[in-house]
């Protein structure tokens, strides 16, 4: 793939935590304009990889490029092109929804009037207008994901990196988020999201990479990767792992 067609390029990314190698010389190219799903079992290194790709976690080795800009040697240029939705990190949740999105915009150095306009539009598009004056700490899980997405979108990034954007989100909010992401990708933006819901990735992503034990096991278009099987089966095939339940007879109360 020519370099100018790569939205996110990871080369030899490695991260150790003590003795544990979380990400092990990982290479990955995300093509521009793709809707890219990153799947893998718990502890496979998805969050660690995405954190290193977005400048939140310093890799021990390797590089990450966003549309040609090196995340770790030219962070200002790279970060201006990325919108991030991390998983498991807090928000400044003593602000109201409107204040938080405004804050994200102003932090990016945007003009105040532009921030105001886009904040209104984003809150409306995500169905948060009624809750805009409430503190984010009082939001439900789905609303929190949506307001974080608004923060990630406010500076019109060209690459969106979303860690578990659909976790703990109800179907209605999930539909809203999905609509916005598909619209974003259809207009030339690139979306990278991690998930462990295979069905969802199979339905909405154009490309997919399967990660296990810190390495990419398979990647390409969704059709290439699943090779005629369902993504779920292909995933279990690649990652391995036991699926039959043994023991636990005492849990089956009917056996009394």
């Amino acid at each position: 793939m020519p370099d100018d067609q790569i939205a996110l390029g990871l080369r030899g990314l490695t991260k150790r935590f003590g003795d544990m190698v979380a990400v092990d010389h990982l290479d990955l190219d995300v093509p521009r304009g793709s809707f890219f799903g990153l799947v893998g079992p718990n502890g496979a290194g998805k969050t660690t990889t995405l954190s290193m790709a977005t400048g939140l976690l310093r890799p021990d080795q390797g590089t990450a490029h966003v549309l040609g800009a090196d995340v770790w040697s030219d962070p200002v240029a790279a970060k201006a092109r990325i919108g991030v939705l991390p998983d498991g990190l807090r928000l400044f949740d003593r602000l109201t929804g409107r204040q938080l999105v405004t804050y994200a915009g102003l932090l990016r150095g945007m003009d105040r009037e532009l921030v105001r306009q886009r904040t209104d539009e984003l809150l409306a598009a995500l169905g948060l207008t009624d809750a805009a004056e409430k503190l984010v700490i009082d939001y439900s899980a789905g609303m929190t994901k949506k307001v974080t997405l608004a923060c990630a979108l406010i500076h019109a990034p060209r690459l969106l990196v979303l860690d578990e954007p659909f976790e703990a989100v109800d179907p209605v909010s999930a539909r809203t988020i999905r609509g916005i992401l598909e619209d974003f990708a259809a207009n030339g933006g690139t979306v990278v999201l991690s998930s462990h819901v295979m069905d969802l990735v199979e339905r909405i992503c154009s490309h997919v990479a399967i990660i296990a034990a810190g390495q990419v096991r398979a990647h390409g278009t969704v059709d290439d990767v699943r090779a005629g099987m369902s993504l779920d089966d292909r995933f279990l095939d690649l990652v391995g792992g036991q699926t039959d339940v043994e023991g636990l007879a005492w849990l089956r109360t009917s056996s009394d």
Binding site: T54, G55, L56, L57, R58, P75, V76, A78, K79, A80, I82, V84, P86, G88, L89, R90, L91, F92, D93, R94, L95, T96, R98, Q99, T102, Y103, A104, L106, L107, R108, G109, D111, R112, V115, E133, K134, L135, I137, D138, C151
Partner: protein
Amino acid sequence: MVAHLLRLKLDLLRNGFRRSVAALVGMVLGMLYGGGIVIGILVLMATLRFQGDAELTRTVLTVGGAGLVAGWALLPVVLFGIDPTLDPTRFATFAVRERTLAVGLLLSALVGLPGIGTVLIVLGMVFASTRSPLAALVALVGGVLGLAACLIASRVVSGAAAAVLASRRGRDVAGVGGLLFFLAVGPLLGFINDGGVTRERLVGLADVLAWTPLGWAWAASGDVLLGHWGRAGLRLLLAAATALVLFLVWERLLVSVLRNPRGSTGEGGGARRGLGLFAALPGTPMGAIAARAGTYWIRDPRFNFPAIMTVLLPAGLLFPGLAGDGSDGLLAVMPLVAAYLIGWGQHNDVGYDSTAFWLHVASGVDGVADRVGRLFPSGVLALVCVPGYALLGPLLGGSWAYFPAALGTGVAVVLNGFAVASVTSAVKQYAVPSPGESPFSSRPGSVGVTFAVQTVCGGAVMALSLPALVLFAVALFGHAWAAWLVLVLGPVLGAAAFVVAVRVGADLFRRRQADLLQDLVSMR
């Protein structure tokens, strides 16, 4: 079950050390520092044991023991915070008998440096009373009752304080209470100052304390040594009753917490209009960070409670300053205390963001904007408090001759504090209560790191301020030239330190922001 809880606390402590070297270093520092104090007290106790004056023994034990209980009750609220690892709410889902849980949680406080130190001190106090077997026995019973009072009082007071602060009205009440407390401290200091600490006074103090709940448990053995058998018995009974009543109150608190685990906010979800400070301050990254910091100072008890304390604390010098002759130099120190508390207080600001700090990292925020923006609310506070206290002294009858020195040195100290904070908050942050946690909670195994960072920061502020402080001292001795010199030189030197430190801090911030975030992640 009690054994389980103790083992849980031990495991948590040990795992804390496995996660970070800093915690281990902190523990060692804490052992050296606290160990020194404990050994000093033990030597004092041994000396008491081998001298003949029973009244002296009784006085020291009563006053010291009462101080121990007061310390356990108040220090967590004022200084350290209480360890939330064994936060009662975390046990809400387990089927544990409430009384067992109440006992286990209390005993778990003994696992840790303060607990071990206190047990050693109590043993020393028992030893000091071993001149007669019966006195030793009474001292042992009293010691156990007194120790129980320490443990329970700390839980009850911090639980009640957290509950009070959870509501807005409660915070107002706490603010007024704090003011009254400091107004009371003033006359007390003046009283001690006036004539000094004499033996008669200490004996008098012990006599009073011996008839309060603070002193019952500790005074009994002294009564035996002095031959007052009836009093000793009565005091032990009263001490036992105190421990029992405190325990019942603690159990009530625990049950109410377990049965109504607190909601997510503690702050009624009232709607707020518009953008607040975000509309009022400049629409730049620095302005936005200032607005965010300012909003948090208003909404978050972790900020506004210390802020109230910072504003009120220097007023404690008012009474001794006004009471005696020739002590109105104390009034001139008020702005310095305010300046130190405000400036130095900023050194761990990034720690308070917790992992929400990712938004700054992901946005590629400029270091200068982050460093300076954060200082906005405390800058406003300094702008009010430092000149305010500098003026308050002379207006209330102090000497105007000290005014230029007080103002100039105050400005220097606050700017130096901000300078140190700009660098340290980009280097090392220690764990603080997470957003939404009680402002009185602390992290297990973090007391040492906290203490070390605070000491280093305090030392750095003092070192930077040394020229101004020396000139201030010279001015207090009546040299007017020094007062005027420091009025000019203090702000100039402070501003220079601040500018340099912001540059250095911004550079560190640019290079270290991801590492800083990971530090915060590992502290969760």
